[in-house]
């Protein structure tokens, strides 16, 4: 595992219990800036639970989560998002009855002027901020090839477009760390290839660090620089794709002891 003083995210001994059930136990790792890292593991390994702990959806029962040197595990979700960590969901969760444009605008809620009165007074400072917010939304519409659908209700988009909008909405918050929960789920092979390209472009062009859960192994092996493997709530391996592919513990977790 990488230990580095300037790690963007460091997860220290995080555990999550639901009553008597241990969903996560002693998970530690750290992520450097501008990395693309995948979390893999058999069903029920605790991957989504880990995401829930990081994004404030759950509060981990033990351990600490540090984002850029600041503990975030006790913060409410909106403050974690404001600190620069946002996520997507396995099942897409757009604001379906709002337009594509509105989805991108509302994601910038914290960036536009925070004072209630500013909107009523409509002063110059407020208008400038609103302009910036609108420009940012237009940028993401273009970037994700969603411009023709800007005024359509998000729920009416095709599945692949909804996936792209969900990622765009996260990016509109200007995150430092983006968590993607099975971004390729339900995409066809062509769309998956495009997604691969998109993920590495986001990292290269926008400097965002990406942590993703994925079952599509070809995608995982192609884009991730490092891989964390979870099994039954515990981390069992961490390393570059080539090493993970050969790792006996990983193979046994996926295929069972007797296949070795």
């Amino acid at each position: 595992m990488t230990t580095n003083a300037v790690a963007l995210l460091s997860v220290e001994n995080v555990g999550m219990q639901f009553g008597g059930l241990t969903a996560l136990e002693a998970v530690s790792f750290s992520l450097n800036e501008k990395k693309i890292v995948a979390v893999i593991g058999p069903n029920g390994a605790g991957k989504t639970t880990l995401f829930n702990c990081l994004s404030g959806f759950y509060q981990p029962t033990t351990g600490r989560v540090m984002l850029d040197g600041r503990a975030i595990d006790k913060l409410p979700s909106h403050e974690i998002a404001r600190a620069g960590l946002v996520r997507t969901f396995q099942n897409i969760r757009l604001f379906k009855q709002m337009t594509v444009m509105e989805n991108l605008l509302v994601a910038q809620f914290t960036r536009s002027d925070n004072r209630l009165w500013a909107g009523l007074l409509n002063n110059r400072h407020y208008r400038e901020k609103e302009e910036t917010v609108k420009r940012e939304a237009i940028y993401w519409l273009e970037r994700m090839e969603l411009t023709p659908f800007a005024n359509r209700e998000a729920g009416n988009l095709a599945y692949g477009q909804q996936r792209r909008l969900e990622i765009a909405r996260c990016m509109a918050t200007a995150p430092r760390l983006l968590l993607l929960d099975e971004p390729a789920a339900g995409l066809n092979p062509n769309e998956t290839v495009a997604l691969c390209q998109l993920i590495s472009d986001l990292r290269n062009d926008h400097g965002v660090t990406i942590l993703l859960i994925e079952h599509d192994m070809s995608l995982v092996m192609e884009i991730s620089e490092e891989i964390l493997v979870l099994d039954r709530g515990r981390p069992i391996a961490w390393g570059v794709p080539a090493a993970i592919r050969e790792d006996r513990a990983v193979i046994s977790a996926y295929l069972g002891e007797e296949c070795l």
Binding site: S55, G56, F57, P76, S77, H78, I80, A81, R82, V86, R87, F89, N91, R93, F95, K96, Q97, M98, E102, L105, V106, A107, F109, T110, S112, D113, L116, G119, E130, R169, C170, T173
Partner: protein, 308 residues
């Protein structure tokens, strides 16, 4: 024109007046339901408090010598909205926020408790008897033959309709265009997701209660000026009617609450005129039962999507 048509037009005017009041209050029910999925049964009391506050403010203005009618009305409107909103905000902080995430029945019972508390609080503070308010605006227009039936439109009725219309337009613009309005729609659709994108959902919920209370305050002021009599219990029946209006329009839908309020006002006005005044409540609540039986999503509501 025949007498029948004239009477019919009169009932429409009366119904629109009443319906405007219901619509203003119904919005508070529907917005709170839309955002946290609970019925705020103390909302009728917020309206009642709005009526009381407007009386106190008018009396206080008279005491300090402000009597110019437009100034009095504007200041009263402003003060009533501000103070009533504070009540709405406090009710949410005290009675609902600590119970968030609990079973649905828990905040419901808390709301009923809050409603009883507010009724008694007003009785202790202002006395249990009816309070009469001096009519500030009287008079109106008459249309029709001097001998036969005349349509009567009071100035107050026109004011109620115009003020309601103005606030409806303001609210719609706010919800559709403003940053906070967009955030509140996002929170209503998926509270967790909105939170994960950096929106402080507690803040948005507070704002929702404040908006609901502000509109109820406007209704309270208008009713005070129109009927001239208030007591601590006026919130109960009007609250239930406004709730009926919200359900009729489709609970959770703001345009639905506006439409439902106006329709219910018309239904009540017509049933008072053509059936019997005693049956107007029966008719209004029969509407509630029929809607719940045959179209539980209301006129403009969308079918409930199970939240994940």
């Amino acid at each position: 024109m025949s007498q029948f048509i004239l009477e019919f037009i009169q009932q429409i005017i009366n119904g629109l007046t009443l319906g405007s009041i219901y619509a203003l209050i119904a919005i508070g029910y529907t917005m709170v339901y839309g955002i946290i999925g609970m019925i705020n049964f103390a909302h009728g009391e917020i309206y009642m408090i709005g009526a009381y506050i407007s009386i106190v403010v008018i009396a206080a203005l008279a005491m300090i010598g402000i009597t110019a009618l437009p100034v009095v009305l504007l200041l009263t409107l402003l003060m009533t909205i501000i103070i009533t909103s504070l009540y709405g905000w406090s009710v949410e902080r005290i009675a609902y926020r600590p119970l968030r995430g609990r079973h649905r029945l828990v905040p419901l019972i808390s709301a009923i408790g809050m409603s009883i508390f507010l009724q008694n609080y007003v009785q202790i503070a202002q006395g249990a008897r009816d309070i009469a308010m001096q009519p500030l605006i009287s008079g109106g227009w008459r249309f029709g033959d001097a001998g036969g039936f005349q349509i009567y439109v009071s100035y107050m009725q026109v004011i109620i309709a115009l003020v309601t219309l103005a606030f409806m337009i303001l609210l719609s613009l706010f919800i559709l265009k403003s940053r906070v309005g967009k955030a509140s729609r996002a929170v209503a659709q998926d509270r967790e997701m909105a939170n994960l994108l950096g929106i402080d959902t507690d803040q948005i919920i507070s704002i929702t209660f404040v908006i609901g209370a502000a509109l109820a305050a406007v209704a309270g002021l208008l009713v005070g000026l129109y009927y001239g009599i208030v007591n601590a219990y006026i919130g109960f029946i009007v609250g239930l009617k406004a709730f009926t209006a919200a359900v009729l329009g489709g609970i959770g839908s703001i345009p639905g609450a506006m439409l439902g309020g106006v329709l219910l006002g018309l239904v009540e006005s017509f049933s008072s005129a053509y059936l019997s005044t005693e049956y107007k409540d029966v008719v209004a609540f029969s509407v509630l039962i029929l809607v719940l039986l045959f179209r539980p999503t209301g006129l403009m509501g969308k079918p409930e999507v199970e939240k994940v």
